[in-house]
């Protein structure tokens, strides 16, 4: 069976997190991850940092953003009518 090198796995980590790869590649990668502690930790820690980052940034729009946008558009619609 063909196996992947650590370097090849590293190159695919981002695609793996995005679930953006062929089922065959996914299988190869998972076989490698089961056997290689180093790559498994790399995947885990990258994933975890991204989750933390997304959690920290549950951004809200600035207060009044939508309202100001609607005002701006309402003026534009007025102009478009005349």
């Amino acid at each position: 069976m063909i196996t992947l090198s650590c370097e090849e796995v590293r190159r695919e980590i981002s695609n793996y997190l995005d679930d953006d790869m062929s089922p065959r590649m996914r299988r190869l990668l998972e076989v490698h991850l089961e056997q290689c502690r180093k790559c498994a930790v790399l995947l885990d820690s990258t994933h975890n940092v991204l989750v933390l980052l997304a959690d920290e940034h549950r951004f809200e729009l600035p207060a009044g953003f939508s309202l100001r946008m609607r005002h701006m558009l309402a003026k534009e619609f007025e102009k478009a009518k005349s």
Binding site: S14, R37, L50, M72, L73, F77
Partner: protein
């Protein structure tokens, strides 16, 4: 396969709905433009924010882009989603403003675009990072530092994809770079942000920096 088909027909339905809505707006029912904008205004704002990094500029650019899209609605082809089109306008406007603000040419930004192989820091365990030991505030500061430490081209792509949750295609439209370029930068950005976070958390926690190989 099944899933892909379902997703495609869903996509067609969205496109169809958008086309009808746009036809109505163009026929003079302008108020319905709000309906077109409402579901994506957050993503519009954060696309601008990812590039500009200040609230006031991001809001202004969002408004300008939304206005520009309204004025140019007749030129929208309807082959792609309206959101992708609008996000590419926002991305453009934001980059233009950034260029003016910093007087840095786009060429210069692009030339710092070193996208070669990247070697991440090795850890024995995720547990080595003392996340639990960090107070919530400290954790947030650490993450913010890591994000700020990234070179611009990587920070943009990371914010759009992993914080704003734009799709790869939308990120590509917003930044006007190819899909493969998005993927290459994203891999690098993700590994880098992890490394910054890991090394800084470590250094703060133990008072030591990890030895460089």
């Amino acid at each position: 396969m099944q899933n892909t088909l379902v997703r495609e027909s869903e996509n067609d339905r969205i496109l169809e709905g958008e086309r009808e809505l746009i036809a109505e707006i163009l026929a003079g029912n302008h108020e319905r433009y709000y309906e077109l904008i409402a579901p994506i205004e957050r993503r519009v704002y954060y696309t601008a924010y990812a590039i500009l990094r200040t609230e006031a500029d991001a809001e202004e650019v969002s408004q300008e882009a939304i206005l520009k899209a309204f004025r140019g609605l007749r030129t929208f082809r309807g082959e792609a989603k309206f959101s992708s089109w609008l996000l590419s306008i926002v991305g453009n406007e934001a980059r233009m403003r950034l260029r003016r603000r910093r007087e840095v040419s786009l060429e210069l930004l692009k030339s710092s675009d070193n996208e070669g192989e990247y070697t991440p820091i090795e850890l024995a365990e995720w547990r080595e990072i003392p996340v639990e030991a960090l107070a919530q505030k400290e954790l947030a500061a650490r993450l913010e530092e890591a994000l700020a430490a990234l070179p611009e081209i990587y920070r943009e792509v990371l914010i759009l994809r992993d914080i704003d949750e734009l799709s790869i295609a939308e990120t590509s439209a917003a930044l006007e770079i190819t899909v493969p370029a998005v993927k290459t930068r994203l891999l690098r950005a993700r590994l880098m942000v992890r490394d910054y976070f890991v090394s800084r958390s470590w250094a703060r926690h133990t008072g030591l920096r990890k030895a460089q190989p």
